[in-house]
């Protein structure tokens, strides 16, 4: 790990202030404030149920779809409050794309899955669509496995292939931020390696936020790490520092696997 030379700190992509999110009154995120930086990877770690997915889904307002969710505090995307009245949520979600914890390809062909985003955003030219599909599938390390069956159902792919398809589907849309909720939890070590290489490459262009239960993975791919516990942000900093010299005892316990 050579994160010792920290990059100069640019203006944050997301500025989160005093964020509290509750499901029907039960808080899942409690008063969290942090800044998320562009062209870098931020990892979110913490035990199951600590609110990582909830936090991630707040950033593209996916939580709006769940009845009974209340969101307090402020989230600024490049200075603009994304929860302000009158915000174009559709455009927000186009800018802030998401890969879900469970792969969710549409019940259509592989090609149509990847072409879905460009199509709804107005691309109709067949050649251009084909080019986008090939580029996205290649980037998601799936092209070689599916290039002969592009017009077969996406539901017949293996779980790991489906997840890479969902990543390809996202890459086909020109987002600025990628939210990845445990993108590798259903993958074998080889596919996981491919995804990690991909993340490494993509971070030159995107702001990447990734949830993972795998400490090695967090250490390998991320520049910064945020540790959550029961909805609270316990520690947030450069990955090298969080892993090598955590300030909080609970972070250390969790990272070293001594957590109850």
């Amino acid at each position: 790990m050579d994160h010792v030379h920290a990059p100069p700190v640019p203006a944050p992509t997301f500025t989160v202030r005093n964020l509290t999110i509750a499901y029907s009154g039960n808080p899942a995120i409690k008063n969290v404030s942090l800044d998320l930086y562009p062209r870098s990877v931020t990892a979110f770690i913490g035990p199951s149920g600590c609110g990582k997915s909830t936090f991630l889904r707040a950033l593209n307002r996916m939580n709006d779809l769940i009845p009974g969710v209340t969101t307090q505090g402020r989230i600024l995307l490049e200075g603009e409050d994304i929860y302000a009245p009158g915000v174009d949520v559709v455009n927000l979600r186009k800018r802030v794309g998401m890969v879900f914890q469970r792969p969710n390809p549409f019940p259509m062909s592989i090609f149509d899955n990847v072409a879905y985003g460009p199509r709804i955003h107005g691309v109709t030219d067949r050649d251009r669509l084909s080019a986008i599909v090939e580029r996205s599938l290649t980037a998601a390390a799936l092209w070689d496995e599916v290039k002969d069956r592009l017009h077969k159902s996406a539901l017949d792919l293996s779980g790991g292939q489906q997840q890479r398809l969902c990543i390809a589907r996202l890459l086909a849309v020109d987002s600025e931020v990628l939210l990845m909720d445990e993108p590798a939890s259903a993958l074998d070590p080889i596919s996981t390696g491919k995804i990690e290489d991909l993340i490494d490459e993509l971070k030159n262009r995107y702001t990447i936020l990734i949830v993972t239960h795998n400490m090695q993975q967090a250490g390998r791919v991320s520049d910064r790490t945020a540790f959550f516990l029961s909805g609270e942000l316990i520690e947030y900093g450069l990955t090298a520092e969080v892993f090598e010299s955590p300030r909080d005892r609970r972070t250390e316990d969790y990272i070293t696997g001594r957590f109850g």
Binding site: L65, K94, G97, F100, R102, P107, R169, L170
Partner: protein, 283 residues
Amino acid sequence: MRDRRRRNRLADLAGRGLLVLAAAVTVAILLALLLYVLVKGLPLVSWEFLTALPRRMGRLGGIWPTIVGTLYLSAVALGVAAPLGVAAAVYLAEYAPPGRLTRLCHFGSETLAGVPSIIFGLFGFATFVIFLGLGWSVLSGGLTLALMILPTVIRTAEEALKAVPRAYREGSLALGATRWQTVWHVVLPSALPGILTGLLLGLGRAVGETAAVLLTAGSSLTIPLSPLDPARTMSVHLYLLAVEGISLERAYATAAVLVITILLLNLLATRLVRRLTPKGGHA
């Protein structure tokens, strides 16, 4: 240990036996019914019977006008109930905020689905035939049938839409699709087989309906040309032939044609469902 396993196996066997028996009895009754109608009716069915005009109230001749009437009325009923019902279901399943009004809509359609068809007939008679002045006509009958099957169409379509996994919707919305794009490109195609099944159920009811049609479309034996012409469906024809003692054999022959029509419609719809099911999709 071994004993228990044996007991389990026996119970499994007995359970399976009962299920097979139940299935066999059901199929046997259905087959018997079909065979009975076909055996009694088919000998009289000929090309002439299908294509000729009836003479002497149906004692002689064929049933051509009633075939036309049946198809005509069903087309009007489906043509009205399908778009209206599916649109209502999309609203209820995808847009309506959960609350008083939505619950009221559900209650309404559930109650309407259980209302006897003769009530729809009376309503159609009062509204379309008399009040709107459409008289006994294909339009009055078709609209009445549309109202009658609407609750079924709405409820099955809504169930089908609700069965579409939330993950599909989230996946689409997360790519920056609008609500409507999501419904149109992802949700509706996935729900299509279920929706079609509901339409088919409605069609079956419409084709088989007698009383409500008699009250609203009349029982004229001429071929209906305009939607404002009165018409007689096969079901009505068969009912009148039998009840007025005109000709029981011809009633059976009409019944045979009716049954075959419904079978054909079912086959067609199953084909359609299979064609339209999303590739490798869940049905």
